[in-house]
Amino acid sequence: PQMRQYVDFNDLDTICKLYEQRARGLVKFAANKVEEEVRNGEDLVGALNKVSVHSVRAANAHCHYFVVKNFVDEIKTLELSPGLRSVLMDLARLYALDGLSKNSGEFMEEGLLSGKDVKQCHQLVVELLPKIRPNAVSLVDSYEFSDKILMSVLGRYDGNVYPNLLEWAMKSELNKTDVIPAYEKHIRPLLKRHQMSKL
């Protein structure tokens, strides 16, 4: 409860601290479990195996913390125009808050967030979406993947999806002839038999 009065979801450093504490908590939990198993007579290999489910959660939280912190640190360090910095900051906040929101159970487990905090977090993610919207297409354009690399009718740079979807479908082997060879072999005899049975 003391921690929570300092949580400011607008501050990326605070959010990074939450990730750090979640990772520390889960690593220490796994390490303590290993100690416990060893004290109960298990050898280290056996102890690590028994604790492996907790260990994977700990490693995942550690990697998540690494990626969030690295993202925030990079944006702080890079020389950027105010416009771009603000857009990247919004992306970093969205990444970090979405991670809090989707892994809220682990943050709550560590006593870092309350149910009320998590609700606020969900809301902040929703509020960030319209801020990203005006830049969404340009943010993906900036990677500069050519159409030939994407090989996607839906993801074409010019957005002319429907005429190209039709053109693409026309390449299908089945469209080489109007009547497929299987008609004579399988469809026509079936239809004939059906018509004869009606008679």
Partner: protein
């Protein structure tokens, strides 16, 4: 240009050039990339049928044609393709992220292993011919029965001091090398990982150069059985192969001996560090983090552009159908993934940089950061590939019915990306390796490296 997507581009609030330069390695690098793209895309020789409508054999042959063309045409690019990074980008544009049978395993693993583990004499013998494409190589580690657990590999290499040769052998069905790319039908050499025995003692996994095909007529060498492992979930242009060795004898010099050696009389000289043999895998894991970032970025590009031009339903009767990108639920599916692609972009920069500096230090005999690199590359490889794998599927679903068509590009992106979760270390096992390091740091109370120092700080 579709007016809806143009409108989206007109509303941006940042300097496009500034971000494009940041994401493409700076002004000069971006210019270079643009030139390479333009050269490849204007070269009609690289055109070919749409792979979505091709059989496996046709795909295999078409990508072999493109791969060999790329090698032949590389020289003409002069200064544009100066280093490995440039060549990788050139390759990506020719093969469109599909396998390059003359490049991926050859330059991705065969050449780096020679660079990292061969002595100067061995480099002179194999590295130069490899770079000149006089020999084509692959890296044969995984077996039918064992993959990630390297100590479980069964292939043996017994040293015979009488003849100063190693006898390399697949003792069981499960020990047959299984999965290595381009092994089945393309390569004529392989670096084979096998359990080394000298004087009756096993010294663990070591790397051996084995000629697997005759250089004259490309037939399998005596004692060697080779083949393709059959169709897969994706990557069907590649002849991922199998290799069975029946008491194949190679000279003593064919063991890569930069780090550990076997002397003429069979004396084993151990490497200064046990896991130096696994350097190639650490490198590949670092590059997989980069692939994860770009694969997610590509999926987001497709889904977000399509969401800008697709209109669906009416919010209120009689109103125009909104772009699906305007729906909060669509934004909630895609924008966190867009943000993730940026987070991964910066993570891969860090990872590749870290690999470069640790590798340089190892070359100078400084092994102090190897454990840290191994831990970070294992953890990030697993973390980013899992996220990207599920993220591509979310992008596909976000395109509604059309996402299911191969025309969307997303099914193939998914099937090409998904093996990243299981090759070069199965993800759960890699997470456990990362966790072992974290738990060790926590238990021993040592601060360890910078990335784990926080474990001992006060909450």
């Amino acid at each position: 240009i579709n007016p809806d997507i143009q409108k989206e581009r007109d509303t941006r609030t940042f300097d496009y050039e500034e971000l494009a330069m940041l994401l493409n390695g700076g002004k000069e690098e971006r210019e270079k990339r643009k030139k390479i793209v333009s050269i490849v895309e204007s070269d009609r020789d690289y055109d070919g049928p749409d792979p979505s409508f091709m059989s496996r054999m046709d795909r295999f042959e078409e990508w072999m044609r493109k791969s060999s063309l790329l090698v032949k045409k590389k020289e003409k690019l002069g200064e544009l393709v100066q280093d490995h990074k440039d060549f990788m980008f050139y390759n990506l544009n020719v093969t469109k992220k599909r396998p390059n049978v003359f490049f991926d395993l050859h330059y991705g693993m065969f050449v780096p292993t020679l660079m990292g583990q061969a002595t100067d004499e061995q480099r002179a013998k194999w590295l130069i011919p490899a770079i000149n494409h006089e020999i084509l190589g692959t890296y044969a580690q995984t077996e039918m029965g064992h993959g990630t657990f390297l100590r479980g590999l069964e292939t043996t290499a017994h040293y015979d001091p009488e003849t100063e040769e190693f006898e390399i052998h697949s003792p069981t069905i499960s020990s047959i090398k299984w999965w290595p790319g381009t092994l089945g039908k393309t390569c004529n050499h392989a670096i084979v990982m096998a359990q080394l025995y000298t004087r009756g003692v096993c010294h663990g996994i070591h790397a051996f150069m084995v000629q697997i095909r005759n250089m004259e007529d490309h037939t399998s060498m005596p004692g060697i059985t080779l083949g393709d492992i059959g169709p897969k979930f994706g990557y069907n242009e590649n002849d991922n192969g199998f290799l069975k060795l029946d008491h194949v004898r190679v000279p003593r010099d064919n063991m890569l001996m930069k780090h550990s050696q076997v002397l003429e009389d069979g004396t084993y000289v151990a490497a200064p560090r046990k896991n130096l043999t696994y350097g190639t895998m650490t490198m590949v894991r670092s590059f997989i983090v980069r692939d994860a970032a770009y694969a997610l970025a590509r999926a987001c590009t497709i889904a977000i552009r399509y969401s800008a031009v697709r209109r669906q339903s009416e919010l209120r009767p009689g109103e125009p159908e909104p772009q699906i990108l305007s729906y909060p639920t669509q934004q909630h599916k895609l924008f966190p993934l867009l943000a993730t692609s940026y987070a991964f972009f910066f993570a891969q920069l860090h990872m590749v940089e870290m690999y470069g500096s640790v590798n340089e230090a190892v070359g100078k005999g400084d092994y102090s950061n190897m454990q840290e690199l191994h831990s970070v590359s294992s953890g990030l490889k697993a973390f980013t590939t899992w996220t990207t794998n599920s993220g591509i599927e979310v992008c596909r679903m976000s395109c509604g019915g059309h996402g299911y068509s191969l025309a969307s590009g997303l099914p193939e992106l998914y099937t090409y990306f998904t093996p990243n979760c299981t090759y070069e270390g199965e993800n759960t096992v890699l997470m456990l390796q990362n966790a072992r390091y974290l738990i060790k740091c926590a238990r021993e109370g040592s601060n360890g490296a910078k990335s784990v120092a926080y474990i001992h700080q006060d909450a």
